[in-house]
Assembly symmetry: C2
Homo-oligomer: 364 residues x 2
């Protein structure tokens, strides 16, 4: 770690102290590989399913890893003051309307979690409207939407910390209830602007490389969104790589909660499936806040948003799917979960050459 | 269609006449797209899941398509005389041993089909050994393995035709039993040599481009395999693009059955999920034998075998997964099936903007 990174990390620890995350044991990965190579199939022929199975063993610390059939996707929802800048064609009310749609089962993530037997949890951590009577929602609102990040910090440091704690608590509560695999989701009109600002600052790339078309915008709106993100990142000045500063100034309440959720899952030794750009921006922030996080992350898919690939590369993640999705909600994480579970099942349930009485290939 | 293609197709029809395959109706695809664009998500944001859902509608002829929850993967098994040429480090006995492993539930395809609630059917159409008392196997052996394709035709035309009929019958029987989605699988030591010869002949590419490492071979064995495939293709002479000639001379009994199975599924208006190179070689042959086949094919994954990409490109198929698998058995098809079913479920079960009371984006 460079001195600069050390100094950022120590400033971080004065903001909020998370429980430590255990490093994974490289011996477990070696034992997992050795086990996979005795299964009745040519060496390496299950491709990335073998990597996933090994990865799950490293996290679980056992060979084979338990099949993580109890999975949950958590959607953290929050609104964004930056919608005042016309960075999206969707009005902020859609955040609350979509939460109702999640609960009533009509959203993409509702269909996917139902189909794949994944628990779906929707958390209001920062929705602008009052949805406190809406059923099927975990109510942990920290603030009714962020401030406009173009003109002022999106949140105070205290608000960011409180939202992070919400996410951390949700992760640890789910794990205490027996959940073995956590998926990340989000809903928040305007949050691709916040995540582009986070990714551009942390990775030091120009706004134009980090900003995508979001959920459907014109060329004019795109150019405007690039200038908003560029100005917000520029205003961070020398603190553009301090994760707490970035989170509070250009982040979102749901992004803060995701940061805590990801750290919470990892601190319980549970794999966390990352979705698209918003959850990737949270993973980047989390990675800058704590040690030993990366081995707990699994990328569900490669969103078509350009900053997704920037973040995946930085985190050294190879996504399960390349389905050209860009919906968010946790849809990419949910779609990957049955494949991740299948990888674990293959390792746990396949016969070995010896047990099945299959002749191994001739040594040549 | 060129005159040469017409002449090949008419010679084909004198060999074996299949029932016609209905063309799909482009109006259904348009109606499917229009329906998808009313669902509560930004336009196009489910990426290739939207293409899959549209594709299923085209095949079913209805919008939305029924969710094809009753799926089956069929493994056709056969042995190959060309194993005498030392093109693989695996002895032929492994074909029968692996069939026992499929039946007892220890193979990769056993684990995947169990997990994804897919019916697994194993058919002996050409295994060298006598496995007629093995339980859990459909016994329709046409011949106990092919002849050595390097020195003589692998099969007679009559044998090829009989094996094709086995596959066709299995497909139509499954559909009659209510199966809505068919997946292709195979087992046959030596069959990557046969499929490389088929792909090289039909696509007119050099053997070195079509031959892969199969299930794990040395450089020396690889060079030898290329020369065997090259010699077999050269011997086809001017008939290298006649599908029945190619099938009988350099194919396999399981490949012939797969040809019939694929055509059988399509003729029942059921989507057929293609697996790796062996099943792709069968799809290429089927495509040369009948009209209107392609719209019924879905590629499960992109095998790392080089000829897989050649065949996918020729058939204009965009695979669901890119998981670097190369196992066969139907493992790539089985892994894609839950994703294909989810695509149909999204279309059938998601709310529309109107039904969910979600504000659509501002027209801009």
């Amino acid at each position: 770690m460079s001195k600069r990174e050390q100094s950022v990390r120590s400033s971080v620890n004065t903001v909020h102290v998370f429980p430590p995350i255990s490093p994974t044991d490289p011996q477990v990965a070696l034992a997992a590989r050795a086990h996979i190579d005795r299964l009745t199939k040519p060496l390496g022929s299950l491709g990335r399913l073998e990597h996933l199975a090994t990865h799950l063993c490293s996290i679980a610390g056992t060979v084979p890893a338990p099949i993580p059939d109890r999975a949950a996707v958590v959607i953290f929802a929050g609104d964004h003051g930056v919608t005042a800048e016309a960075v999206t064609p969707w009005p902020s009310e859609v955040t609350a309307q979509m939460i109702a749609n999640f609960s009533s089962g009509g959203a993409a993530i509702s269909v996917l979690t139902r189909r794949f037997n994944i628990k779906l949890v929707v958390v209001d951590v920062g929705v602008a409207g009052d949805i406190s009577t809406m059923p099927g929602v975990v109510h942990r609102k920290v603030k009714a939407g962020t401030a406009n990040l173009l003109h002022e910090p999106a949140m105070t440091l205290d608000e960011a910390r409180a939202a992070t704690q919400v996410g951390f608590d949700i992760a640890t509560e789910l794990v205490a209830d027996g959940v073995q695999l956590l998926g990340t989701g989000e809903m928040g009109i305007g949050n691709t602007t916040a995540s582009a600002a986070i990714i551009a600052s942390l990775l030091g790339v120009p706004a134009a490389r980090a900003v995508g078309r979001g959920t459907g915008i014109t060329d004019e709106m795109y150019a405007h969104k690039v200038s908003v993100v560029g100005a917000a990142v520029a205003a961070l000045g020398s603190q553009a790589t301090d994760p707490w500063h970035v989170l509070s100034h250009v982040g979102g309440l749901e992004i803060a909660a995701l940061v805590g959720f990801i750290i919470g899952g990892a601190s319980c030794n549970v794999p966390v499936v990352i979705d698209g750009v918003i959850t990737l921006s949270a993973a980047l922030l989390a990675d800058r806040m704590v040690e030993n996080l990366r081995p707990y992350l699994i990328a569900g898919h490669r969103s078509t948003e350009p900053s997704a690939t920037l973040a995946l590369d930085d985190l050294d993640l190879d996504p399960v799917h390349e389905l050209e999705m860009r919906l968010g909600e946790g849809s990419g994480a949910a779609t990957a979960i049955p494949i991740i579970q299948a990888a674990a099942a293959l390792m746990a349930e396949m016969a070995t050459f010896d047990s099945a009485g299959v002749t191994d290939k001739t040594e040549i």
